[in-house]
């Protein structure tokens, strides 16, 4: 049945409040950052902006700290994704088998996801503590005597050390999401695989994984979206980007350039570079997300 258009007043009543706030506080700043990146400005007095075209980007290309922050950002993201999605696939497949203790494991593993990033960062700050930290104590306990390692204080371990709290926090959510997707798989598919003599490995890689791939894709998108805020919080609280910029990431560098060096135009240029990177990745994922929403599939 073809329905006529709904009355404009009704559409406006239901849609306009959200749309207005959203456009004003998300879309407008986005537009503004793309404009701001063409200016040199210390950010205090209005009207003192100096138009310099693409000069900020020329500076950006030659800024070793920017490249350092970008590569750290990518390394962090890829590492967190690979480890937490990999672990989550493994554990959700175990839970899908309804092993004993199923419910306890689910509740326990999801729990850290409910903790705030500040709390998680604080706890891990103490885990990494050189003298009273749990990690060094544990190392000694299992016979690896490496003394008081300052995990967050040396350039070669700091970056990986920063990823661990994120992995600790996020894996549980992915387990629950993947488990839900696995439980949607019709039992007959799995039975068919069994009758054909598939091993658990084959069943997982040839039947389960292809069927839950959309869920994995959505999970990766959400992590990507969240990652800048999350990474900012952990880096800020755990290392402040140090030592020697070894954990500097894009959002912390933007913060520093803007609020500490007062170079708002240059900070905006770094944001824009990050956005171009995101949009390039987002272009095809977005179409896929839209399809899901329009067709009315579940969010995950």
């Amino acid at each position: 049945m073809k329905r006529p258009n709904s009355p404009g007043k009704i559409v406006a009543f239901f849609l306009a409040p959200a749309l207005f706030i959203y456009v004003a506080f998300v879309m407008y700043p986005l537009f503004k950052v793309f404009r701001l990146c063409l200016f040199r400005w210390h950010g205090v007095k209005r009207g003192t902006e100096e138009f310099i075209g693409l000069n900020n980007f020329v500076k950006l290309a030659k800024d070793p700290i920017f490249w350092r922050a970008l590569s750290n950002n990518v390394i962090l993201f890829v590492f967190v994704i690979v480890v937490s999605v990999g672990a989550a696939l493994f554990f959700s497949y175990i839970l899908a088998r309804r092993i004993r203790g199923n419910r306890f494991y689910r509740a326990t593993w999801l729990f850290p996801n409910m903790l705030g990033d500040v709390i998680v960062a604080t706890i891990w700050l103490f885990i990494y503590h050189p003298t009273i930290g749990m990690l060094n104590y544990f190392m000694k306990l299992i016979g690896i005597n490496i003394g008081a390692v300052p995990w967050l204080g040396q350039a070669n371990t700091a970056l990986i050390a920063v990823t661990m709290p994120m992995i600790w926090k996020f894996t549980g959510l992915y387990i629950i999401l993947f488990l839900a997707a696995m439980q949607e798989i019709p039992q007959s598919y799995l039975d068919a695989a069994r009758i054909d003599g598939a091993s658990s490995w084959q069943e997982f890689f040839n039947v389960v994984l292809p069927l839950i791939r959309p869920t994995v894709a959505v999970a990766v998108v959400f992590l990507m979206w969240n990652s800048f805020s999350v990474i900012f919080t952990y880096v800020k609280l755990l290392t402040e980007g140090g030592p020697h910029r070894s954990t500097e990431v894009l959002p912390t560098y933007i913060y520093q350039v803007g609020f500490e060096y007062h170079e708002f135009g240059y900070g905006a240029a770094i944001s824009v570079a990050a956005f171009i990177l995101i949009f390039a990745m987002a272009a095809f994922i977005l179409r896929f997300l839209m399809e899901r929403v329009v067709r009315g599939e579940k969010g995950f």
Binding site: N5, L15, K32, M114, A180
Partner: protein, 291 residues
């Protein structure tokens, strides 16, 4: 004869393999659970620790349980203020977010108008716009509006950045509501408002609950935006206050009080988690009605 023995032996091997596998899997699962639980439990015991004991006995149970840590954190540590602020901000924001998102999702899913897909696209594309990359323009914008450092600036920002996720979750729940229901209601002369409140909201309830829980946790724990937009001590929320205490404790090493503050911040999260744990660990974001 030897054939039967061989078969028995094979079955024995199979069973052995299965039970070994079972044991290994349980050990792995328990190890992961300990990895999750030990830091949390340690934080709890540490909140009762005398600060000196962090250096003499960091891992055992506290020799004396120092309840005063909590009183100190609550009063001198300003946690009372942070807690009150967080309750206020979370309540206000979540109510606005859920109400406006439900209305918008209803429009985007059930109403018919030109530009519907574009509007939907606009919201969903927000999933790729991280607030952490817009800190500078947001700061400037709120400054221009003279709401920087106040809740009048923070609340709309929190609300705006919650829309993409909330709409993304809610629209599918509205999509799966059968059209016959609203058509019947229309024939009975119901208005759009009645349809929204009487039919749509009750049927989309599972989605609304999940969206509410996620938004409560999201706002209660939000750090980055608050860190940039709020600077007055008496306006700080729990995560901002905790970060303050953390930075201060670096110098004073008064760790017991820090962890007392953390446990206070955790309490409501744990209560909500225990209440809704079944809902969250079940089928997380299931549509209201099976297709």
């Amino acid at each position: 004869m030897w054939f039967a023995v061989k078969k028995d032996f094979k079955m024995f091997l199979n069973r052995l393999r299965d039970s070994t596998l079972f044991v290994i899997i349980q050990i792995v699962c328990l190890a992961y659970s300990l990895f999750v639980l030990i830091p949390v439990l340690w934080s709890f015991t540490s909140s009762f620790r005398v600060s000196v004991e962090f250096f003499t006995n960091p891992f055992g149970l506290p020799s004396t349980w120092k309840y005063e840590n909590f009183i100190y954190a609550w009063k001198q540590g300003n946690v009372a203020i942070y807690f009150r602020n967080s309750v206020f901000i979370t309540t206000v924001c979540v109510v606005i977010i859920i109400l406006l998102s439900a209305m918008a999702s209803f429009a985007l899913s059930r109403l018919k108008f030109p530009g519907r897909i574009t509007a939907l696209f606009l919201f969903i594309s927000g999933l790729f716009i991280p607030a952490a990359l817009l800190l500078l323009p947001l700061f400037l914008m709120l400054q221009d509006l003279h709401v920087l450092g106040s809740y009048a600036g923070l609340i709309p920002v929190y609300v705006a950045y919650s829309f993409p996720f909330t709409v993304f979750v809610l629209v599918p729940f509205f999509n799966v509501i059968p059209p016959d229901l609203e058509e019947a209601a229309f024939l009975d002369g119901a208005s759009y408002h009645q349809i929204f409140w009487r039919i749509m909201i009750p049927l989309a309830k599972p989605g609304l609950i999940v969206a509410t829980i996620f938004n409560i946790f999201g706002i209660w724990n939000e750090f980055v935006l608050g860190y940039v937009l709020i600077s007055k001590k008496n306006l700080k929320t729990i995560p901002l206050g905790l970060a303050d205490i953390l930075m201060k404790q670096h110098y004073t090493a008064d760790y017991g009080k820090l962890f007392a503050a953390i446990v206070i911040a955790l309490a409501p999260v744990i209560i909500i988690y225990l209440l809704f744990q079944r809902k969250l660990t079940g089928r997380l974001l299931e549509g209201a009605i099976k297709e």
